[in-house]
């Protein structure tokens, strides 16, 4: 315990120098600014801003990048609430109730709850990382390919049950996502699959391309079709600080969300993405009146936002202790660390204690800074979103195109994004939710990889998924969720919950 506080004080010593505070502040501000723009989530933001950190020392660069990460995440929530566009997969859940709250004139409270919830989650997550960083990685090491596969099966079952509209449509979208993820070069054999001999497809479809297409471009198209009913909230933002009643309602979801998100975030393989979904389901199940969800329930913002932020932070654990990035954002962090000559791994904690603890301390400072700079600046972000659409949409499209182009420097990526934009528009018109598709797509690649790894290791026996206890347990939960959701009485209830 004393050791932990000694370490944390070392960290704060590093993070609280004037230069590092300034870097953290710049990172948070720039991250939020770009994160607020619809269609540009943390991944795109960090990818775009990575080059500006090259000139800094490693600690400063990582502090700034972490700031950009949290800032972009927070900016993404702002857009999710005000414009109904999730910046990335984890913000999808926030759109459900956050945007409804905004439509009811409670945008300020939704934004405030998101910021405060994130801050509370961030405080706890910082402590969790500091206290349990080393021992917690043992949990991740219990997971072999079979367990990962079963975990993702469970995640997708959650997604089907959670999606709005018909279960069948959600199931179709997840399957479509899984199918899209199989495009490209087969990992085991090097054979090309479903590329039609078209070289740009040989590496598969880029996540950013698909996400910016079906969320960014498609949203622009839909807005253009009907400009006057565009989804940016035009009603008053209202006061930012939640009332005592709001706080009482949010405190338990916030703590539960922190716990769920923090736990899932540790799992490598982007467990963090499940956090908000899991938190939302639990809140809805625990609520006395689940029908309020999807209609502006404050618990539906507080829980998932806390889970999101806690997961975003605990995702640093596998990176900092094992050197293994659990998701795309962390992979970018690995890139940033290696460019500065630090090879992420178990040695970072002992060899660069100032970096390790400085970064952890800066996470907390970053969260505090977001709370302080964002609440007063909400007006600025709203102004940014209230710029007339005829000026906004070319800017969004250009920005998305630059962002997409900067990922791989491939012009064809931009064309693909446009194509997926049209496709996303079609989906919206036909009443299909694109979010489950994106989740299926993200998990699909990893699922296939883990399935095949598990089967190769077990020499082709499917029993491996049942013989390993953790895997069997996860699969059992998955089956249980599906069965419960398909029970006639439950499915009726579910319909009630999701009808708007």
């Amino acid at each position: 315990m004393t050791e932990m506080f000694a370490n944390l004080s070392l960290g704060f010593g590093v993070a609280l120098t004037l230069k590092n505070i300034a870097l953290c502040f710049t990172g948070c501000l720039v991250g939020t600014l770009i994160g607020v723009l619809p269609g540009v989530g943390p991944i795109a933001t960090i990818a775009m801003l990575l080059p500006i950190t090259f000139g800094l020392d490693p600690v400063g660069a990582l502090i700034m990048l972490a700031g950009i990460y949290y800032g972009a995440q927070y900016g993404g929530s702002t857009t999710a609430i005000l414009v109904n566009i999730p910046g990335e997969a984890t913000a999808v859940v926030t759109t459900l109730d956050g945007h409804q709250m905004a439509k009811q004139g409670r945008a300020g409270v939704a934004l405030g709850t998101a910021a405060i919830g994130s801050f509370v989650a961030g405080c706890f997550a910082t402590l969790i990382i500091a206290a349990l960083g080393a021992p917690l990685t043992k949990l991740a090491l219990l997971f072999g390919p079979a367990e990962y596969f079963s975990l993702m099966v469970m995640g997708l079952c959650f997604a089907v049950v959670l999606a709005r509209g018909s279960i069948l449509k959600a199931f179709c979208m997840i399957m479509l996502g899984l199918l899209l993820s199989t495009v490209g070069t087969d990992l085991e054999t090097g054979q090309e699959r479903m590329t039609f001999g078209f070289p740009p497809l040989s590496d598969g479809i880029d996540f950013a391309v698909l996400a910016m297409g079906v969320f960014g471009f498609a949203e622009v198209l839909r807005n253009l079709e009907n400009p006057e009913t565009r989804d940016v909230v035009r009603t008053k933002i209202g006061r930012l600080l939640p009332s005592w009643e709001d706080i009482k309602q949010s405190i338990a979801p916030c703590l539960r969300g922190t716990f769920i998100g923090g736990t899932l975030g540790i799992l490598p393989g982007n467990g963090a993405v499940l956090g908000p979904f899991a938190s939302y389901t639990i809140e809805k199940k625990l609520a006395k009146d689940p029908s309020r969800f999807g209609r502006g329930a404050i618990e539906g913002v507080a829980g998932p936002e806390s889970a999101n932020n806690a997961g975003a932070q605990t995702a640093f654990i596998p990176l900092l202790t094992l050197g293994i990035p659990p998701n795309a954002v962390m992979a970018l962090m690995v890139g940033a660390m290696t460019i500065h000559g630090i090879i992420p791994g178990p040695q970072v904690m002992t060899k660069n204690p100032d970096l390790f603890w400085g970064m952890i301390a800066s996470m907390w400072i970053g969260n505090l800074m977001l709370l302080i700079i964002n609440l007063p600046l909400v007006g600025v972000w709203v102004k940014l979103l209230q710029v007339p659409y005829r000026l906004m949409f070319p800017a969004i499209l250009i920005f998305c195109s630059i962002g997409i182009y900067s990922v791989n420097n491939q012009p064809v990526d931009v064309a693909f994004t446009a194509l997926f934009g049209l496709f996303g528009y079609l989906l919206i018109k036909l009443g299909f939710e694109p979010a489950p598709m994106l989740l299926g797509f993200v998990l699909g690649k990893l699922m296939e990889e883990k399935l095949r790894q598990a089967l190769i290791i077990s020499r082709g026996s499917f029993m491996t998924f049942i013989e390993r206890p953790i895997s069997a347990g996860l699969l059992l939960v998955a089956v249980a969720i599906l069965v419960i959701a398909l029970l006639p009485s439950m499915s009726k209830k579910r319909d009630e919950v999701f009808t708007e």
């Binding site: 050197g323 992979a331 290791i457």
Partner: protein
């Protein structure tokens, strides 16, 4: 208006030949790195190009064009105009292994490009999970041969350095059909090696050194001529009893074929100066890189290296079972 346009055109026409006569390089040079930012090749490219820019008096801009095991970026670079303004940093995979791995390859690393020089070699290590039975390389060879149906090898995907080097090892051991588990990148593969889900893998020292030092995995040998200063306790394959397994994951610079001699000479000189710079040397050595010899820093020496490794790898890679 028309006269103005004519005047401009005339001025341009006059200016153009004047430009062509001036010395290379007169505008920024693009160095294509065929992998994502942050990978081993990208890091080496950034370290070296920063110093080369100083010598050349023009900025070298690193552009990451990822895809198809690096062949997308190299295709773009070596099919560009041979004016010296597009060069590429490729590696063992894109220059020596690619012709055997990708049948439809659109460039010829042996005859279809202008080599500049080697930027650095990265030693390859044979590593295994901590609990793997064999204690040293000799035991490892016997064990793998005897248990070819039980051992699992991990690699970072077809075409990757770990796949290429391990396929060579399996070919030399006479167990080409050994159970091989593919991962998306070294990171996840290493994770499962640390947790003991798979038995062994071959990979670059940059990726595995920290885990070896931390004792979470063990190393049998380094496939280089000499031990690495980063891991002085790990024997070479020669010392440990498998002398024929010699392979390094090197990175080097190439340009389109037909580059003017002036540009080639300037680039070779800038690379050599960069590799003699103390800061560059230190940063490369910190990464576990082996600095290239005088010979390897020349176009001919680098071309010979590409050819040597291609000859070594092609028979094994072409015969590799595609499960």
């Amino acid at each position: 208006m028309k006269t103005l346009a004519l005047g401009l055109a005339a001025a341009l026409a006059l200016a153009l030949p004047a430009q062509a006569q001036s010395k290379y390089p007169e505008r920024p040079i693009t160095m294509i790195v065929p992998f994502a930012a942050g990978g081993p090749t990208d890091i080496i490219a950034r370290i070296v190009s920063e110093n080369m820019s100083k010598t050349l008096g023009q900025q070298i801009v690193v552009e990451n064009v990822a895809g198809a095991g690096g062949t997308t970026g190299i295709t773009r670079a070596v099919t560009a105009a041979p004016d010296g303004y597009t060069i590429a940093m490729g590696h063992l995979g894109t220059f020596s292994a690619a012709p055997a791995t990708y049948p439809g390859l659109k460039y010829d690393p042996i005859n279809g490009m202008q080599t500049i020089g080697l930027a650095g070699g990265t030693p390859i290590l044979i590593v295994a999970k901590k609990a793997f039975a064999p204690k040293d390389l000799k035991e490892f060879v016997t064990f793998v041969k005897a248990n070819a149906d039980k051992v699992n090898e991990a690699h970072a995907g077809v075409g990757s350095v770990s796949w290429t080097t391990c396929t060579l090892l399996k070919g030399q051991l006479g167990v080409p059909k050994l159970n091989s588990v593919a991962y998306r990148g070294t990171g996840p593969a290493l994770n499962d090696l640390v947790s003991g889900q798979v038995d062994f893998m071959c990979d670059q020292i940059v990726s595995v050194a920290e885990q070896i030092k931390a004792g979470t995995i063990k190393a049998y040998a380094v496939a280089s001529a000499a031990r690495s200063p980063a891991l002085p306790d790990v024997p070479t394959t020669k010392e440990a009893g498998l002398p024929e397994y010699q392979i390094e994951a090197w990175n080097g610079i190439a340009a389109p074929k037909g580059l003017p001699k002036e540009a080639v000479d300037k680039l070779v000189d800038a690379l050599d100066k960069a590799l003699n710079d103390e800061t560059v040397k230190k940063r490369l050595l910190d990464l576990g890189t082996v600095l290239p010899t005088k010979e390897e820093r020349t176009p001919a020496g680098f071309a010979a290296l590409i050819k040597r490794d291609a000859d070594k790898l092609s028979p094994v890679l072409s015969a590799a079972p595609k499960q």
